[in-house]
Subunit: 313 residues, 2 copies
Amino acid sequence: MGEKRYAIGVDIGGTTVKLGLFNLEGEALEKWEIPTVKEAQGFHILPDIAASIRDKAASRDLALTDVLGVGVGAPGPVDAEGTVHRAVNLGWGVLNIPQALQALLELPVKAANDANAAAFGEMWQGGGKGHSNIVAVTLGTGVGGGIIVNGSILTGATGAGGEIGHLHIVDGETEACGCGNFGCLEQYASATGVARLARRRLEQDQEPSVLRSGELSAKAVWDAVKAGDRVAVQVAEQFGLYLGKGLAAVAAVANPEVFVIGGGVSKAGEILFDYIRPAYEKYVFQGCRNAEFALATLGNDAGIFGAAALILN
Amino acid sequence: MGEKRYAIGVDIGGTTVKLGLFNLEGEALEKWEIPTVKEAQGFHILPDIAASIRDKAASRDLALTDVLGVGVGAPGPVDAEGTVHRAVNLGWGVLNIPQALQALLELPVKAANDANAAAFGEMWQGGGKGHSNIVAVTLGTGVGGGIIVNGSILTGATGAGGEIGHLHIVDGETEACGCGNFGCLEQYASATGVARLARRRLEQDQEPSVLRSGELSAKAVWDAVKAGDRVAVQVAEQFGLYLGKGLAAVAAVANPEVFVIGGGVSKAGEILFDYIRPAYEKYVFQGCRNAEFALATLGNDAGIFGAAALILN
């Protein structure tokens, strides 16, 4: 049996499964993808992953015994034992990922929620590198969160630790969030949320704005902010108010060293922080005021990095 | 050298220092107090504690070498190394408690923030027994919080983890919180906060209420609630709305198994939960809806229990 020199990170998404082969230094030696086959209640997903890992190892002339283990990030609440409780996007009910995948691969397996894994990845090799208390916020289609406390993922009692997209932020909201509640942070700070804020602002009056032509996306809003569009700036201020308020609440609970902001909306860059910080500083407990804001750097690879880190850290 | 059979828990308060001698089973064999001498920038506090421990050991014919160590809870932000950063109530600036006390006692010393220590105590031997993910909320003069994640205190980057009394809850508040912000949970859910809510309610109109005579305290409010006083019930509903909303935010971050509610206000008993739960369930993320509510059971001893648990757990 050779020396254990590798770890594999797997990030299961609704359409594709991302995989990465890592060395012990945390470098991604190879990244690849396979489709997520969701039919038959997601029954094929783990066998497909196992087969793909075996194929990859064979193609690289690499023995599976050289692999320390496989880390898996899955979309849904994953508890401390690696059991996912209903992953709606995959068709899964209750499934212990380590047990199931270990049986197929004869390798140690660890699993975490995908957003938590991404946060772990950003701490390990990304925007949170060098810190051990971080809050990662993913501003994508929704708002995901992952919290690392003292170098460990805050999983919580039912795997819902760090679900900061569902912090209640706005009273009196009339549209429902995907979770069924009204006024969740996700409804204003996600990509669709920013577009919603812009749409509502435009409906208020007739003030001219570049946002009145073309597609109303988060990207369009931030491009307009950078171009000095007054209406877009007001939208950004509202986004910053809600997100800053939400992160202030997170800080009073978790007191992180740094907030690492990723996801599609974060492509706007550090200008985001100019809008988040005023509300954050207004509402946050004094002792948490010095938390840093940083951009995520691993992009869509954060999940495979974090999954591998479950094995290597 | 004998067998290590004891641990000592110390809870430093603004007026008294509470101490407890514990056996390894977590039973308090003896509890005692000494005054907190705050003059000379609190310079005497740790030597007084060391002397008191030596005296107690001598009086019980117990060798200090039989003591596993001393745990200390202190009022102020205490980081993971046991350094307190400005304990205003004691006159302390920056002080590493383990180093300082170890030098005086030649025993291992660990330190934590007092609210966090109390939470740890409630998990060990109190209302959170049997759980490893708890949020302890102390509704006293202020609102303190302590969060235990996976059996460990969530200290945070600067020792401000679990400062849930300073969650921003109400917009447009005109009175300042002790922390300098406006609209903190502490302003409505502490003992003084409940009295403030009652005072404001009484000023609104002339509706008869037993609260219009006698001292306006949290106890008076809850006694009136139990007697069916309509005005008091409205005050309790507002208290429940704010606290339930705050705990829903805490849940989306920390996802505890149980909220353990203590402090003076909690003497009202489980009736509190009838007022907290509706708002909690309305605002909380679905995956956290099943968190339990329990009353703290250790009262003022939670601090010494938790401090001892720093050594024994």
